[in-house]
Every structure is written in C-alpha cells, then in structure tokens.
C-alpha cells in the first residue's frame, strides 16, 4: 500500500510534523492489515496551518478545509456517509483560536470522528505568533513584550464538553503516537488527541519534553471523568500522556 504522494515535504527539516505523519501512516497500514479499515473508506481531513500540509503527503482520500473549519467539514463528511472513517487533523491556531466553537459542538454532539491536534503552541505558518495555547510570557512578533494571557487547557475543555475519548501523546514518540491514533480511530464516537509537537523553528520545546513525558499507568481509571479532569489539570514536572478518558455513548450520526 503506497501512502506517499509525489508531493515534496516542505516542513522544516526535523519538524515533528513528519513524525506525526510517519505514525499516522503506520497506524493506517496496521488498521488495514488487521481488517479494521478499508483504505478507500478513510478520509484524512485537515485545517490550515503547518499541520494542514499533511493532506498533500497522504495518498488517501483527503479534504483540505478552510482555516478553523475542518471539524465542521469532517462532521459533514461523517454524517454524509457513516461508513467512512474520518480523521481531522488540526492545529492550536486552527481549532483553539479560529473556529473554536465548531470543535466544542462536535465534542458535545459526539460526532464519530477523530480529531488530532498538532499542538505546537504557536502560529508557525505565519511565523510564530502566540495562540490561545501559548504559555504566558510567550514572545512572538505580535507579542514582543510576552503574551499576557494564561493558556487554555485543551484536554480539560474537551472533557468538559463531553468528548468520549480524550488522550495526549508526544509527536517524537512515534510508536506511542501510532498506538493512540489507532485507539482513537477504533473508538466509536468523538475522539480527541492532543499531540505535543515542538515547533523547532519558533518554539522549540524538545529539550523540555524529552524527559518530562510520562505515560499514564495501565490501571488509570479511564471511565472516571473526575479522575481524568484532575489528571489533565495536575501541575507537575511531568507531562502525562496516554488515554485519560474513554466511554461509549450514541453518536451524532446514529441519533440523526
């Protein structure tokens, strides 16, 4: 199965977007081999930003949406044909600044799509401005004195909105990311995965995350919303990754 296109990769050399792409291709390959996915039924959608270039590098059905609107379009694709496996790639600028409400409403509706957030904590494609997920004090060309806002906690918001699968992973952990992607795609309902993706040009956090990423224990109570909320809110040296929450609920397309 050839999953690459003729398109030349234009991410910065060494950009963790490329490891996300590798993890995704592996996830697709394995899901197809396991008989859980027919390649013609996969739609890989994306918004606008560095993450969005992924559609050009995938020899699958792709849908390159408008900035901030990928979740709405992905919802349309899923309700239009429930047999499709719809993945929506997005960025922190793409779904937490522009188009934020679409993400919240899709989570609340429990649309059967997987949303993979490339969280690089900056607008990279427009040269490094602060997003609503950038840390307080973030210095970019539009915040030369440092961003004065506290960042949002994406997982806490998605849990509050009723997402039925909430996970986090680290882009440079290809195997771990692949595993989480597969679990998200196998989940029936709205799956949200935050992928920590250091921006090596404008906000290089590789050094920080190298040692701080810590997988959740295998016995983490995944069906306990309070435990999940507490865990994603925890302030510590370590950044927990893994599946925080997963429950089953009727999906939007089923209820229609």
């Amino acid at each position: 199965m050839e999953l690459a296109t003729k398109s030349k990769i234009s991410w910065c050399p060494g950009c963790p977007n490329a490891t996300i792409l590798v993890a995704y291709r592996k996830a697709i390959t394995e899901l197809c081999a396991e008989g859980k996915l027919k390649i013609e039924n996969l739609v890989s959608a994306a918004g606008i930003g560095c993450h969005g270039k992924i559609t050009d590098y995938l020899n699958t059905n792709t849908f390159e949406a408008l900035h901030g609107r990928v979740v709405s379009s992905a919802t349309g694709i899923k309700v239009g044909n429930r047999d499709l496996e719809v993945v929506a790639f997005t960025g922190d600028g793409d779904s937490f600044s522009e188009g934020f409400s679409h993400l919240l409403h899709a989570a609340e509706r429990n649309v059967g799509i997987s949303v993979f957030l490339h969280n690089n904590e900056t607008f990279a494609l427009t040269t490094g401005q602060a997003t609503f997920l950038s840390p307080k004090g973030f210095k970019g060309p539009s915040t030369p004195g440092g961003d004065t806002d506290e960042p949002m906690n994406p997982l806490l918001i998605l849990l509050a909105m009723g997402a039925t699968f909430v996970a986090r992973t680290y882009a440079l952990d290809i195997e771990g990311t692949k595993r989480i992607m597969k679990d998200a795609m196998n989940h029936k309902g709205f799956a949200f995965v935050e992928i920590i993706q250091p921006c090596i040009t404008f906000f290089d956090t590789r050094e920080h995350f190298k040692d701080s990423v810590e997988w959740l224990p295998v016995d983490f109570p995944r069906q306990d919303l309070t435990a999940a909320m507490n865990k994603v809110r925890e302030v510590s040296e370590k950044t927990p990754v893994g599946i925080f929450y997963q429950i089953q609920k009727p999906t939007f397309e089923e209820r229609m």
Binding site: T5, N61, F63, E64, R69, G76, H105
Partner: protein, 574 residues
C-alpha cells in the same frame, strides 16, 4: 397581453390583530377557501420582530383570474382589536366593510361608513373554542359580504379547518354569517362562485416551494442556522425529515459558518445538500462559498433578503443584495444565481439549482426575499419542468484525478469510499490530483478549467427562459424588473394607461446577454423597478449589455411595492 387587463375584478381582505392571535393562519385558511373555489390568491403577512403583541396583518387579494400580487385597497377588514382598524383606515375602499371585535366597537364606530361590531370573542367562548378561533367568526361574516350562501360558507370553512376542528370552525363561521346577515351591508356585486379549477393549484409561499423543489430533485441533507426570512425552509424540511421514506436529514449547527462548511463536507461524501440563510448569514458564509468555488463542490445556498445593512429591518423585505451575491466569495469562480419572482419560479429554481450544481460541480444561489419567502400564493408546482442533471461519473479506469482537465471543464466525480479512487478535495489551488500548487501554469489552467464550465453551462441554459418577456411585445416602452417585484409589476401593469413590454430577469448568473439585448435594445424608454437604493439590476444590465435604463423606480424603505402606487409612478413616466 394576459397581464394587462383592466377589467379584472380583484377583492382584498385584511385580517389584523396582535402577534399570537393567529392572524397568519387565518389568512392561510381564507386563501385555502378561495383556492377551493378556483380563485387565485396572493397573501402577504406583515409583522414586527416580536413574539407576542405588536400588530400582525394578513392581506389577501383574490380574483377568479390570475393574480400576481396583493393590493393595498381593502374591501373587507376583519379586526380583532381597535388598532387594526386605526392602522388600516386609509386603505379602505369607498364601500369597504369593517368587522371589528364587539369590545372595541365604540372606539372605532365613527371612523368609517360600514363599521360593524362582531362579537367574535363571545361566540368563541360560547363554543368553548380557543381565542385564536375568533377570526373564524370574521370569516363567516366575510362570506355574507362576498355573496356566498350560508350552506357554502359552512361547507368551505369546515373543509378548510378540517385539521383544526372542522365542525367547531364551521359553527363559528355560521355564527358570524348569521350575525351580519340581517344588516344592510354592501355585498360584492359580482358575487363569489365556483370557477373551473386546475386541481394542481395550491397555496404556497416561496420558501416552501423551494423546499419542495429540493425534494423533487432528490435533496438528502439540509443544514441551516435560523435567520428570518429563511427559517421556514428549515422548519418545513425538518418536519419532512421525520418521514423515513424521504431519506432526508436536517441539521441545525452552531452557526452559519459551520452550516456551509458542513454542507461542503456532505457534498464531498456524495450526498445532495443545501443550506439556506438570510443575507446577513450569507455574509458570514463568504469564505466557504469561495471554498465551494475552488473545490468545485456542488452546493446550493438559498439566500433570502431582508432590509440591511447589518441587522437592518429583520422582518421587512429588500432587493438590496443582488450585487452582493453576484460578487460573493473572494477570488473569481463561476456560480449560478437564480432570482425567482414567485412560488412557481422558486420551486423550479430550487430543483434546477440542485441538479445543475451537481452536473457542473459549482455553487448555486437561489436569491429570494421576505416578500416572496413568506407570502403565499396560488401556484402549480410541476416537477416535470425541472431541468435534469447529474454528476459526470468516473469510469473506474486508470488513476482517478478529482480535478482532471476535461475539455468541457467538467471532471468526473467520485466520492470517498470508491475502490481504487483517491479523492482529494482542497481549499488551496491545486493540480489535477488535488495537491496544492503555486505553479503559475497550473494555477492558470485550473482557473480556465473552472470558467470553461460556466461557458458549457451558459450554452445549455440558453435553451431555457433565463429572461421572461411578456406584455405588449411591439411597445417601445419596457418595464425591467426581477425577483419579488414581479408580483407588484404584473399587477400594476393591469392599471397602465398604455400597453408596455414586461422584461423579467430570472437568471442573474450566467446572464443571458443575447436575449436581454434582443428584448431591450432600441427601446425608447426602459423603466427599471427594483426594491433597492442603487438600481442594482440596471447596473448589471449595463455591465452585461451596455444598455442603459432611462428611468428607475426604486423603493428602499423595507416595504414591497404596492401595485396601485407603482402604477401611478409608471403612468407618470409614460
């Protein structure tokens, strides 16, 4: 010359009350009664943007011959309160009869010649009916003035209200009839009798006609956020979707931006979809409308105008957004814009837009406004007149390319889920496979490809009536109009001092320049009639044909044209 008779008898009935009094429903039932008799109707509904209180007014003009708009001169007024009498005193004809609720009679009794107290509330209470049924008593009184027999009155009212308590309403109408029967009232001298009737005749507003046109063309999804005056399309289709045989789904998402982006996703999945909104909501959809253009998505948008700018006058009408929709969406891309002028045209516009959007893979707009979106009229909806059209299928040979450079500009269309086809759709400019490109040669090829489609479309359309010409074809004077103004213009034409040519532009994009020139070149007088400030159709005509209009009659106070008022303005120019 069919539209230019001076001898036609037209009667107008007004029903007034407060919001919540069921004024709209009373008008609709009355229109159904006249429909049963074989009469033609036009019913407008005037209301402020409030849920309870505020003056609501239904105005129904009827005739045994074709009628295209309602008139302001009232023959019979049914008033549930005193305000309804005061507000419409100036519109009463010389021999008009006013039936006013008994309780308010003293307040208004000296205001006119035939103001009659009608104990609508008391009769309703006696019958243990709900207060909204008061107007039915008025309908019974009207039947007497109109010259119906008491038996016919009972039969027609009972039948019209069969889903809302036919016997009860029949009894209320009897009471109204008997109460005024003995009084010395001027009755309609021509009387009211059954006339030969096409059994397909129905009373319908253009929003419902659009919804029905969509269904006739196989609509599978309607996705919309509520906004007056487009909302009733969503309401109607949401109810239709409850019927599993329809295979129709409706979604009300979080905002208009989501609605249109979701709709583009649905179209990509291979399902027929439409969205609808008012012009303010369409303003929010601009980027996505452009996305539909570049991604060649078959998407239909109903845009119903209300008076702007901004929030404007939410429940009043306007024709102020023609140039806006013609230029909507950034960048240049082909589109369809149809501006129907009545319910029959709205029905066909919806069916045609949906089928042609798929055939040509382009976005299409149906441009209407409050006046026809919410006015009901007699119409015959004929599915056989809808232009057929479907997507060019993929042959399953070789590599699938979503944006293949075909000679006619139309690439084969496959949907995700098709074996061996990789379907790539994108908001970026792209190559044939669907990968983003900034190669100038490919950018130009794709621009040319998309505009090639509009040439192909224009060629197909030239066999249909993109422009409608009627009236006196030999006249050297023409009235030029579009959209909802059609009704008032056709009615006004019945009152003109000399016969004129009537030219209605139905298709705004593609524009039929050849036929417009043929109809208008060399005319010694072209009078354009539009519900906007700038004469937007005149500007379009000049852009497309170089022809100037000589006079403009423009109304931009958020109200529709009134036929008699319009006729005197036209007569002053003839």
């Amino acid at each position: 010359m069919e539209n230019q008779k001076n001898s036609q008898i037209i009667r107008t009935i007004g029903i007034g009350g407060a919001a919540g009094d069921g004024i709209r429903e009373a008008g609709l039932h009355l229109a159904e009664i006249f429909n049963k008799l074989g009469y033609h109707s036009f019913l407008s509904f005037d209301y402020p943007s409030v849920i309870r209180g505020g003056h609501n007014f239904s105005r129904l003009s009827v005739s045994s011959e074709k009628i295209s708009g309602d008139h302001s001169e009232i023959d019979v007024l049914i008033a549930v309160n005193a305000e309804s009498v005061r507000l419409h005193l100036d519109e009463l004809k010389e021999d008009a009869v006013v039936f006013v609720e008994q309780a308010y009679f003293d307040e208004v009794k000296d205001m006119g010649k035939h103001i009659i107290a009608l104990p609508m509330a008391d009769f309703t209470k006696e019958q243990s009916a709900r207060p909204v049924a008061r107007t039915t008593v008025g309908l019974g009184a009207l039947s007497f003035v109109a010259g119906l027999t008491p038996e016919k009155n009972h039969e027609l009212v009972s039948a019209a209200f069969q889903d809302y308590g036919g016997d009860l309403n029949g009894a209320l109408a009897d009471k109204g009839f008997k109460h005024v029967e003995g009084q010395n009232l001027p009755k309609w001298e021509e009387g009211t009798r059954e006339v030969p009737r096409d059994e397909r005749m129905e009373i319908i507003d253009s929003n419902r006609a659009i919804a029905k046109g969509f269904l006739a063309a196989g609509l599978q999804f309607y996705i919309a956020y509520p906004m007056t005056p487009s909302t009733s399309i969503l309401h109607f289709l949401a109810k239709e979707a409850l019927n599993p045989e329809r295979k129709l789904k409706t979604i009300q998402p979080e905002d208009e931006i989501s609605a249109i982006n979701m709709a583009i996703g649905v179209a990509y999945s291979g399902k027929k979809v439409a969205t609808g909104t008012a012009t303010g909501g369409f303003a929010l959809m601009q980027e996505a409308f452009s996305f539909a253009g570049v991604s060649e998505s078959p998407l239909v948008v109903v845009v119903s105008q209300r008076q702007g700018p901004a929030t404007g006058v939410p429940t009043n009408t306007s024709q102020g957004d023609l140039q806006f929709v013609l230029h909507s969406g950034h960048g240049e891309f082909p589109r369809i814009v149809i501006a129907p002028g009545d319910a029959e045209e709205a029905y066909l516009a919806a069916g045609n837009a949906l089928n042609l959007a798929w055939k040509y893979q382009i976005p299409a707009i149906i441009l209407v406004d409050k006046q026809i979106s919410e006015s009901s009229q007699t119409a015959i909806l004929d599915a056989a007149k809808i232009v057929s059209g479907s997507a060019k299928p993929w042959t399953h040979e070789g590599k699938y390319e979503r944006y293949q450079l075909a000679e006619d500009g139309i690439s084969p269309l496959a949907s995700p889920g098709t074996e061996n086809a990789v379907v790539k759709l994108t908001s970026y400019e792209h190559d044939e496979f669907g990968i983003a490109t900034d190669d100038p040669e490919m950018v130009k090829k794709m621009m040319d490809k998309r505009f090639k489609k509009s040439e192909t479309l224009a060629l197909e359309l030239s066999q249909y009536d993109m422009i409608k010409v009627s009236g006196d074809l030999s006249s050297d004077t023409a009235l030029l109009f579009w959209g909802s103004s059609k009704g008032a213009v056709l009615e006004a034409a019945k009152q003109l001092k000399k016969p004129v040519k009537l030219v209605q532009i139905l298709w705004m994009e593609p524009f039929d320049s050849a036929h417009a020139s043929e109809a208008l070149a060399g005319m010694s007088k072209i009078i354009s009639i539009e519900g906007n400030h700038n004469g937007q159709l005149s500007a379009l005509l000049r852009e497309k044909t170089g022809i100037d209009t000589h006079h403009k009659i423009l109304r931009y106070d958020s109200k529709p044209f009134d036929p008699s008022e319009l006729a005197s303005k036209i007569n002053a120019l003839l």
